[in-house]
Amino acid sequence: MKNRLRVLRAEREWSQAELAGQLDVSRQAVNAIETGKHDPSLGLAFKIARLFAMPVEQIFDDGAHVGEE
């Protein structure tokens, strides 16, 4: 799943470790999510959305566009 986590983190000048600390996950988890190798759980996705004060769908993109089917 594509996501904008790296961009959002860079905008705030946070390191992966700092973001991991705020999300209560490991730095490895942040790296895996940023590179698209791991999809976060629903709970973590909401936590990320709350941290960046954005809707989940503005951070994560599963490639399916609503209304196109």
Binding site: A17, V25, S26, R27, Q28, A29, K37, H38
Partner: protein
């Protein structure tokens, strides 16, 4: 925020990942020990590390984070596949032994075959300690493979 005792912090979480790689190394040492006996102190330390890694993966994975759990799941898939391959090997051998025994009995008026059944031929494969070490190795390899694949 409610107080949650023993909640792991970021340092603890990252240590869990490193510990799994340490356990992989320790498991390699134990496999090596099966063929060339190592000093007891090395064996005990390696065994402690492997057992610790398995306990972290089995009992504490959910306390680390989602990603750690996903990596453990990958290790479990490798282990389950290994068990299937191991039992498949036994299935083929047992099938061959059954067929050979039945054929021999039909062709020799009910006498039992003289050769050893295939299933009894490999002592290493029936040694519970070696089998457990091999499956633990598969678990740590699956974990490491999934972890390294996520880095590149």
């Amino acid at each position: 925020m409610p107080y949650q005792p023993n909640t792991p912090d970021r340092y603890n979480r990252e240590q869990s990942f490193r510990y799994m790689f340490l356990s992989l190394g320790a498991n390699c040492v134990l496999i090596f020990d099966v063929f060339i006996a190592l000093p007891n102190i090395v064996r005990v330390l390696a065994m402690g590390s492997v057992v610790g890694g398995l306990l972290v993966a089995g009992l504490m994975a959910s306390r680390v984070d989602d990603y750690f759990r996903a990596l453990c799941y990958s290790g479990q898939q490798w282990t389950v596949s290994g068990i299937a391959a191991y039992l498949l090997f036994y299935l083929f051998n047992a099938g061959y032994d059954t067929g050979y025994g039945a054929g021999f009995a039909l062709g020799s008026e009910g006498m039992a075959p003289e050769r050893e059944p295939l299933i009894a031929l490999s002592p290493l494969l029936t040694d519970g300690y070696v089998v457990a070490l091999s499956f633990a190795m598969l678990f740590f390899l699956g974990f490491a493979y999934a972890s390294l694949r996520a880095r590149w």
